[in-house]
Symmetry: C2
Subunit: 336 residues, 2 copies
């Protein structure tokens, strides 16, 4: 058994995952669509299975991981051990090139890198489909990060989750001008974790049922917009879907509110920019936090950055291209 080191990147959904059919297997209530980012943000992970380890060990950014993170990693490792028919425990080291707590989808890149590196270290020749199932066990949205480009996570119908995996809608070369301008915003306050929040929404929001009932149409429209590189439709659908999800979060009891006054200023700034241009050139989406992901084209990145520079609560701006997905690193890059 040899060590394996992989790098993976976050993905930012344009049709969001919120609500589980099965919280052990992370089976989602609905299909979702995301764009995998390039390595402006990335997680590098080294895995080794060996008889020398008595228990699975997980080191995140040079710190021993929490019990909760370790437990999620063990679910992924167990599934890989079962398929590879090995019994060895593993050592996992993982490093982000960005702050973990900043709400930048580090669990997606982290569990995708883990699934790839651990499968490889275990000697499996796993397909993207299988890798996405492994990654999903650690974090639902991580299953979309095992592929580059534009990705759909099929919710699936089977109870064992064997048909709940990611497929590529289009590769990273399909729309090379597309950018995600990330506005990092200080959250400033405690937030509800997304697993807990999803469960609360599903149990208490009357509007959630309507979201689930109608989201198939949104998925179909979004795929068409991506395949046709229809910027107007892509941006409008992205903004509407983001607000639609945050509406359902607000309809939860007690309400879940991730958008703050800075997020609101960004929303207004994007609408003002689009109004000034007379067409949509930018579209925001927000995950379970106040950071904005603003999809735009290369030609408009400067205008989006100008707009953000006028909002005092924006701490940092990161520009991502569409990424190619995880890749194996040479052994010289091993973290241990």
């Amino acid at each position: 058994m040899q060590k394996s080191t992989w790098v993976a990147t976050p993905n930012i959904a344009v049709v969001k995952y919120w609500g589980k059919k099965d919280s052990q297997l992370n089976l989602p209530a609905n299909n979702s669509i995301s764009v995998t980012m390039d390595e402006a943000l990335s997680t590098k992970t080294t895995v080794e299975f060996s008889e020398k380890y008595k228990e699975d060990e997980l080191v995140l950014n040079k710190m021993r991981a929490s019990e909760s993170d370790l437990g999620r990693a063990v679910k992924v490792l167990d599934a890989i051990r079962k398929m590879a028919k090995i019994k060895y425990r593993a050592r996992v080291e993982s490093q982000n090139n960005f702050p973990t707590a900043a709400g930048l989808a580090s669990s997606a890149s982290g569990f995708a890198a883990l699934a790839c590196a651990a499968s490889d270290a275990a000697g499996l020749k796993a397909s993207a489909r299988q890798l996405s199932i492994f990654a999903r066990l650690g974090s639902g949205s991580a299953c979309r990060s095992v592929l580059g480009g534009f990705v759909e996570w099929k919710a699936g119908k089977k109870k064992d989750g064997s048909d709940s995996y990611a497929v590529q809608v289009a590769s990273n070369n399909h729309w090379p001008q597309l950018r995600n301008v990330i506005a990092v915003v200080n959250p400033g306050r405690k937030k509800v974790g997304s697993s807990e929040g999803m469960e609360l929404t599903a149990n208490t929001s009357p509007l959630y049922k309507e979201r689930i009932r109608t989201i198939g149409k949104t998925i179909a429209k979004m795929k068409r917009a991506i395949i046709q590189r229809d910027l107007q439709s892509f941006l409008e659908l992205t903004m509407r879907e983001s607000s639609h999800l945050h509406a359902v979060m607000l309809d939860t009891f007690p309400p879940i509110i991730y958008l703050n006054d800075i997020s609101r200023q960004i929303i207004e700034g994007v609408h003002d920019l689009n109004a000034k241009k007379g067409r949509l050139v930018a579209g925001y989406t927000f995950d379970a936090g106040p950071n904005a992901h603003i999809y735009t084209l290369e030609a408009h990145v400067g205008e989006v950055e100008d707009m953000l520079s006028k909002i005092s609560g924006v701490k940092k701006v990161i520009v991502c291209k569409v990424g190619a997905g995880p890749r194996r690193l040479p052994s010289s890059e091993s973290l241990f």
Copy 2:
């Protein structure tokens, strides 16, 4: 024809009005339920019809009113002239005992006082039903302020609006311990007007249809909670309905966001207080702005005020009881 002076008070809805079937007649898409406040906040209005006036004149807080406010007042005056079979133009003076722009439902108290004073000045013996129809022509929610206590505005079915009026669910003596603790919050930013916002929501929000489809059940539950003085149900329904409406506003495109970071702190403060008490003792509701209206009982007003005193963006706190509705003032109180 003699002058008449009336005082009326705002009402704060616990099942909200958002969306019109007819914007000329202010016919709402759904029934709504409100509580009329006492005279902690009030509007006093004097009306005189006379041949000496060449045109209708409207003075608000000692300033000549805007064309838009004048136009709304003329709709009310025209309806009253038609019923009273008079042709005289009118002079109207109106004063609030609170800042007009603070988002404290001054149009509700203002148009209710106008309907009462103008009907009286025109010599009509108008019923509450008729007064509520007059007030509705100026501002939809004003129709609920012509009655005291707990009030339902029936949306009605007729095209001419003759069955769209307010009825009393229970009088102001029904639940004498009930209080509305108003937290006045600096809006700090431009806001979308409610008429414009309602139209945008009805035209663009996919979740709005679901709200309208299901609101009949909320109305029935709220009436039962009021009649039974069931505080737990009343407070939970009030909070859920507020968030439900603000969710639909957020689902509008572009999104309408009235809640700000201070509103969010108040929401959390109320949930924290309820959690500490082990039962619901307070319930917030928000209209088209960031001010919070916190329904509670007299016994818990101190705890609610303590909670609000820890939130730095709360500028002022006003405590209202349930009010008895508009009343006629002696001629010595005339504004001109």
